[in-house]
């Protein structure tokens, strides 16, 4: 029995490894072929999110929801889990937005068929507020741009370098 279990586990591990190995190929394909299936996830600023990518993929909505109530009802305005912080980092410097076909929020939500209700009220652009929009003026070489395919979603740190 023990042996069979080990074998099954081994087979799974091999399959997973194969899948991961295939990922860069898929990513390259997505980058070249625009019509490929799956969201386009790009990040532009910083080298890591406020939480590990796995955590954010699963639970970003809970964190934003919690922060929203804290801010709205109690006036707690910490930045870490604020929608503003998401937008400031993830907005595409070209469109100045997290929406649009390749927008960080929209492309994934579109793929997952989950409608986003945030941007009927909230602006999808970073606040300028005296400071120049940081991303817009950065030279393109400095941009950290990463395109991953749906195959890698939830398996690797696609958001991080």
């Amino acid at each position: 029995m023990q042996k069979i279990r080990l074998m099954v586990f081994g087979a799974l591990a091999v399959a997973a490894a194969g899948w991961l190995a295939a990922a860069p190929v898929l990513a390259a394909e997505t980058a070249s072929a625009k019509s490929a299936i799956g969201p386009v996830i790009k990040t532009y600023k910083g080298d890591k999110c406020v939480e590990p990518t796995e955590e954010m993929r699963r639970n970003h909505m809970k964190k934003i929801l919690h922060q929203r109530d804290e801010t709205m009802h109690k006036g707690i305005r910490t930045r870490k889990y604020s929608l503003k912080n998401c937008i400031d980092c993830h907005a595409d410097p070209k469109t100045n937005s997290v929406l649009g076909e390749n927008g960080f929020c929209e492309s994934c939500h579109e793929y997952a068929a989950v409608s986003i209700d945030c941007f009927t009220c909230h602006s999808s652009s970073p606040e300028k507020n005296g400071q120049p929009p940081k991303a817009a003026s950065t030279d393109p070489a400095g941009l950290m741009e990463k395109t991953i395919s749906s195959a890698v979603m939830g398996t690797t740190n696609g958001n991080q370098p």
Partner: protein, 241 residues
């Protein structure tokens, strides 16, 4: 009447706590603005005194509010949003005309909160009355209940919202007393603009702080809420109506 020992200790303890805690906390509150992770508390109640004698025939406050909070109209006066508006009063007997800004009066007993079926209309611990647009269903009961016509319904899709003042179609909005500025230790945009313009018709401050500027102004002369008969104990008061 006889008090049990437990009740007596309870009362005494409360009184002592009141004496020792309150002054300490007040010192803190005077010394600095709240830090971002601190919640608003009942230690403060924000208020506004509007001196109509100083209020000119201008709309600097309205313009400042629009710029700060990013609301705008569509040339449809019946439905355009108005967080703050200038109202002109005329004494028909004497012909005397005066003009005053009207905004959400941040009632202590807000009728808008009483009627809201969802809990979207609420009063913050520091007395600022807000609409939680995440919860608002746009029923507009609060607009009917507000005696000051302070609230607006957003009829159109919105663009160029400020990150600190989200607004969207299908929800109700009103003056937030620039809650984002207050949380950062600043005064509301209308007050700042009116002061800069030299009119100085508005004073903003903490009604619970006996040494605040607004309380000194309130103590120095007469003032009244609008519609005092309603007994709403508004945070906004007027002088010279």
């Amino acid at each position: 009447m006889s008090l049990s020992r437990r009740e007596f200790i309870g009362i005494g303890g409360g009184a002592i706590a009141g004496i020792t805690l309150a002054p300490g906390l007040r010192l803190v509150e005077l010394a600095r603005a709240r830090s971002p992770e601190e919640a608003a508390t009942q230690m403060q109640r924000w208020g506004l005194l509007i001196d109509i004698g100083r209020c000119q025939d201008c709309d600097v406050c309205v313009t400042a509010c629009r710029t700060e909070n990013g609301w705008y109209g569509h040339n449809r006066p019946a439905t355009d949003p108005q967080w703050i508006r200038k109202v002109t009063l005329k004494d028909n007997q004497t012909g005397y005309v005066e003009s005053l800004p009207v905004l959400c009066q941040h009632c202590e007993e807000p009728p808008c909160v009483d009627v809201c079926p969802t809990g979207a209309s609420f009063k913050r611990a520091d007395g600022i009355v807000l609409v939680d647009k995440h919860i608002c269903i746009g029923c507009r009961y609060c607009m009917m209940a507000c005696p000051y016509k302070a609230r607006s319904f957003v009829h159109e899709d919105t663009i160029n919202q400020k990150s600190y003042a989200p607004r969207g179609k299908g929800t109700v909005e009103s003056c937030t007393l620039c809650v984002h500025r207050v949380d950062a230790g600043k005064i509301p945009a209308c007050v700042e603009a009116c002061t800069k313009d030299g009119n100085q018709a508005m004073v903003f401050g903490d009604l619970k702080d006996p040494n605040s500027g607004i309380n000194k102004h309130l103590a120095a002369g007469p003032s009244t809420p609008l519609r005092p008969d309603l007994n709403l104990n508004t945070g906004v008061r007027y002088r010279g109506v």
